[in-house]
């Protein structure tokens, strides 16, 4: 009896105001209900392509709400898609190499250039409702978020220790039980961390794509992104600052209210033999845990759902035998699979042919323009990378080698990094316009805003991982400053640096799409570059140019990854890995 009691409700110390917390949880649930209803009403309303955006600060909460709903839906879609994709890829050896290759490529393609076609397609698919335009934007955020989540889930599934799988087989777990008791818990930590990255990327895209012009058809959805863009366009500094402040507020709140509790909670899924001393603490999580309602209700509801499922699954014939882990007999391929594969192939071929046909209208002059643009953007991206590396390496190493400093700097930098660079860009633009500078420097600055953080974090982590005995050796033998850097620090942070640079390079390419072309106060600022050409083509509705520019960007990113980064990665893995 006593045991049952402790199991049902773990004793929580310091339950001071459980009633208030319960009340709070209930109120939140009610508010959520209302929000869902009102969003539904707006979505199912008549489509208004260009919603008038009020620049009054009082309107900000509503816009913030719409943006957050978009984010939330896009994120939930990404998460479910990622889990399904990862699962299929991990357990179907036949399609696995294909699916991983697709992931690899899609992960490195800048999503922003897909915006116009995606929105158009969605409006045609769901005519007569605001939902169509909304779905276009949501789908775009989704494509920016989903790939690293899918990759994380896939690689988690692939790294589950063999005897854990064997245990689940020998005890005849159903697929359902394996998913909830083995696969999902094992993947949780990876999913949480990647969610943070994904949502930050989502904000970046959201602010850019809530309003855009495409030939004669303009779209503007009520939201923070539109608000900031309208403010920039009107040169309304007050509104602009208020908008950016709201974005920062939301980002900080998400960090404190969502990510920190999640990270603290996911600690229990660490696959470790010994309990580690370091824990992330989250007051919110502790508060929630002290709520009677929150602590016991989900568990009870869940077991209501779960019990019948387990009983039913246990009755099925499949659950009575042990499934071998290395079934070498070729499974019969159902004809449906072939039919699906054939259908996919036909659709892909047809679409590729159509695209190729579209490219016929490209002239030699266009091509030259694109090539010049590609070269310019390539230089710009690498310049941004070099500048980032130049300042982040010394700063990161200084912070990483000083634990006290690291404790202060890291959380601040984390928040700074998750504020979307797109939100700061308007300020930068307006400053440039006032100073009369060109967009050339501005675009590099924007890329910097978005990318330097990845490198900084990785350098800090790398510096922290340099074993102290190696550092002591360096001190003991009185290494000169030069020796210290070349023999100890640079090799030590190399693997981390490369990881950071790869991520940063992807981010910089993505940023180029919006950094090289902009409207401020009736003026169009642009520099030569692929990104600018994508935007210009969108503005004028020239789809062939858009397509070719997108192909160029994708090709360059993928080639760079294959030729440069992958080799450096390999080098880091083999030569510069510090293995205890």
């Amino acid at each position: 009896m006593k045991i049952q009691h402790t199991l049902a409700r773990p004793l929580v110390a310091g339950r001071t105001t459980p009633f208030l917390v319960d009340l709070g949880v209930t109120l939140c649930a009610l508010a959520l209900f209302f929000a869902v209803i009102s969003t539904g009403v707006y979505w199912l309303g008549r489509p208004v392509p260009v919603v008038h955006i009020s620049s009054s600060i009082g309107a900000l909460p509503v816009y913030a709400f719409y943006s957050m709903v978009r984010m939330a839906i896009a994120y939930l879609l990404s998460l479910s898609f990622a889990v399904a994709y990862g699962y299929i890829a991990a357990y179907n050896p036949r399609v696995e190499p294909w699916m991983v290759a697709v992931l690899d490529i899609l992960q490195s393609i800048p999503v922003l250039s897909f915006l116009p076609p995606v929105v158009l397609a969605m409006v045609t698919l769901i005519p007569g409702h605001q939902l169509g335009i909304e779905m276009g934007v949501i789908l775009l955020i989704f494509t920016g978020q989903v790939w690293n989540l899918a990759f994380s889930f896939y690689s988690s599934l692939k790294t589950i220790p063999r005897d854990m799988i064997e245990a689940s087989r020998i005890f005849r777990y159903s697929g359902w039980q394996r998913f909830w008791q083995l696969e999902m818990p094992f993947a949780t930590i990876g999913l949480v961390w990647n969610s943070i990255v994904s949502v930050a990327g989502g904000w970046f895209a959201l602010i850019f794509c809530e309003s855009f012009t495409m030939g004669a058809r303009n779209f503007q959805l009520p939201g923070l992104g539109s608000y900031i863009q309208v403010a920039t366009y009107d040169g309304n500094v007050r509104a602009l600052l208020a908008g950016i402040a709201t974005v920062i507020l939301i980002v900080v709140a998400t960090d404190q209210l969502l990510w920190r509790p999640l990270i603290a909670w996911s600690d229990k899924f660490k696959f470790e033999q010994v309990e580690s001393a370091e824990h992330v603490k989250s007051p919110i999580l502790e508060l929630l845990r002290s709520s009677t309602l929150f602590e016991s209700l989900p568990g009870r509801l869940w077991s209501r759902v779960e019990e019948p499922i387990y009983r039913r699954l246990a009755r099925s014939k499949k659950s009575h035998v042990i499934h071998p882990i290395d079934d070498e007999r070729k499974r019969k391929i159902p004809p449906v699979f072939w039919m699906l594969a054939a259908a996919c192939a036909i659709v892909i071929l047809w679409a590729a042919a159509q695209a190729a046909l579209m490219l016929r209208t490209i002239t030699v002059a266009d091509l030259r323009l694109l090539l010049e643009g590609a070269a310019a953007t390539f230089l710009r991206v690498n310049a941004a990378l070099l500048i980032s590396a130049a300042w982040t390496i010394p700063v990161g190493v200084a912070v990483g080698l000083n634990p006290k400093l690291a404790r202060v700097v890291q959380p601040v930098a984390q928040i700074l990094a998750s504020v979307p660079a797109t939100a700061f860009f308007p300020i930068l633009l307006m400053a440039l316009v006032r100073l009369g500078g060109g967009l050339g420097i501005g675009s590099i600055a924007l890329m910097l805003l978005g990318t330097q953080w990845y490198i900084l974090f990785n350098v800090i982590a790398g510096a922290m991982s340099i074993p102290s005995d190696l550092r002591e050796v360096a001190t003991l033998y009185r290494f000169t400053r030069w020796q210290r850097w070349t023999k100890l620090i640079l090799p030590g942070i190399f693997p981390y640096l490369i990881t950071g640079m790869v991520t940063a390079s992807g981010g910089a390419w993505n940023a180029s799409v919006m950094a090289e072309y902009s409207h401020v106060k009736d003026r169009t600022l642009e520099v030569i570059g692929l990104g600018a050409q994508i935007d210009a083509a969108t503005d004028s509705g020239r789809f062939p140019m858009l397509l070719l520019a997108t192909i160029f960007i994708s090709l360059m990113v993928v080639t760079m990854n294959r030729l440069v980064w992958r080799k450096l990665y390999h080098l880091a893995e083999t030569r510069f890995k510090l293995d205890g």
Binding site: Q181, K268, E272, V321
Partner: protein, 462 residues
């Protein structure tokens, strides 16, 4: 049950005992990236019959684990077939469990949830699940740890959870893949003897146990039958019954002969194994589990000597109660002394009578220095703890060992209070026998003369 009958008919000869699992000419190949396949196990027959602990020994790379996985149905043989009660294993409702070397517990589930999970897979209702799991946890000695997480437990306790999880489904065959090799020696020994106890008392519903190990002594200690595998590719070198009675004595001649025999088989992979040495099925030489600490009775050496002298006066044999009466002792005060004398091999107890042994007689008849010597020999011979303390003090370069070291060893088995009392008694005996001394100031065991020498040194310094 229908299948069992048909299969024994099909195989023609009526089997003496129907095998639970039977492997027929199983082979295993692993595919290499470069087209060619590597054979890990060549055609092998193996049977697991009820009532038997079967140990599979072999050098690394002999396919022990692969064999275990094929027998459980976790791995499909490349050729040949495994039968479960005569039915191909892939189609049968197999009821087996595995205890893993790495425990393979789910770190995000509590101890109770870990044990409940296999029952959940079988659709057992939640209340029955809880009841059965708690009972099993109780059986393996984890009462009160239900809501702990595995990472909060020590290695030995984690493997207990592994056992509870394996046994809760009441498997017909319990498979163990080097279950004790991730544990320290003492914990492993403890778990091993508890497993034997569960098995011999039929506390677990299991009909057969299959253990994969690379530890020869472990195999000889546990198994009723030992199969030794050779490698390149894996094949059976020898397969024989162990007929030593349980509990087995590591020191007995038959035991060491068997261990030597297996050692020779393993180290000479190219020579045909010789005949299995004859196993003496005689009485046990020493009635104790090796390596497990005996409970030291809290008696003083002087008391033991006194008791033995009295007994000698009475003709070498007397009723224990009468002895207590004669000495005007409460029986509870006398018993520790009797136990101590028995532990040292100075007397034996037969139907309530204490009888002096030749060693005891010699002891009682000797003068004090000789007595110390006899006591010393008897103590080192018979008392594990004293033997360990001596050895530790001797081996260490500074010849001192902290008390904590032994407290840690003892607390697997005794309560905290009892550990202290055990060490106290050990110190009394060790001092008497001049085996070692105890430096109470530093709480360390030292060489017998070290304290005196140090005191002298101190005095000289002054």
């Amino acid at each position: 049950m229908q299948e069992t009958v048909t299969s024994s008919q099909a195989s023609g000869a009526p089997a003496v005992v129907e095998a639970i699992i039977r492997a027929e000419k199983v082979e295993k190949f692993y595919a290499q990236p470069s087209q060619n396949r590597i054979q890990v196990i060549s055609a092998t027959d193996l049977e697991i019959v009820p009532g038997e602990i079967l140990a599979l020994l072999g050098p690394s790379g002999s396919g022990k684990s692969t064999m275990l996985r094929m027998l459980t149905g976790l791995s499909t043989p490349t050729a040949g077939q495994v039968y479960w009660h005569g039915q191909p294993i892939a189609q049968a409702e197999v009821n087996v469990s595995i205890v893993f070397q790495s425990f393979a517990l789910f770190p995000w589930l509590t101890v109770l949830e870990n044990v409940e999970a296999p029952l959940q897979a079988r659709g057992v209702s939640s209340s029955e699940r809880r009841e059965r799991s708690l009972k099993m946890l109780d059986t393996v000695g984890l009462d009160g740890f239900e809501s702990a997480y595995p990472k909060e437990l020590s290695g030995g306790m984690r493997q207990r959870v592994g056992f509870a999880r394996a046994l809760v489904v009441e498997p017909e065959v319990l498979f163990m893949d080097e279950p004790f090799s991730a544990l320290d020696v003492l914990t492993a020994e403890n778990l091993r003897s508890e497993l034997l106890e569960l098995w011999s008392k039929k506390t677990m519903p299991t009909k057969a146990v299959f253990i994969v190990t690379h530890n020869i002594e472990e195999a000889v200690l546990l198994a009723d039958r030992i199969v030794v595998l050779g490698r390149n590719p894996g094949h059976i070198r020898t397969n024989f019954r162990v007929q030593l009675p349980q509990p087995r004595d590591r020191k007995s001649e038959s035991f060491t002969q068997l261990v030597d025999y297996i050692y020779k088989v393993l180290t000479r992979p190219d020579t045909e194994p010789a005949a299995v040495p004859e196993q003496q099925i005689g009485p046990r030489i020493r009635d104790q589990r090796q390596m497990r600490y005996q409970m030291l009775p809290h008696a003083r050496p002087g008391g033991i000597a006194g008791l033995l002298e009295l007994l000698l006066d009475k003709g070498g044999r007397d009723d224990i109660y009468r002895l207590a009466d004669d000495l005007a002792f409460e029986i509870d005060d006398l018993l520790p002394i009797v136990d101590a004398a028995q532990l040292l091999g100075f007397l034996t107890i037969e139907e309530g009578d204490a009888a002096i042994t030749p060693a005891g007689e010699q002891f009682a008849n000797s003068e004090i220095l000789r007595q110390k010597e006899l006591f010393r020999n008897a103590a080192v011979e018979n008392v594990l703890l004293l033997r360990q303390i001596c050895r530790a003090v001797d081996t260490k370069s500074d010849h001192t060992v902290p008390e904590e070291f032994f407290l840690d060893l003892l607390d697997e088995q005794f309560s905290e209070e009892e550990c202290l009392r055990q060490l106290e008694t050990a110190v009394t005996w060790g001092r008497y026998a001049e085996l070692f001394d105890f430096d109470a100031a530093r709480r360390r065991f030292v060489l017998p003369d070290a304290l005196g020498d140090e005191a002298e040194a101190d005095e000289e310094a002054k």
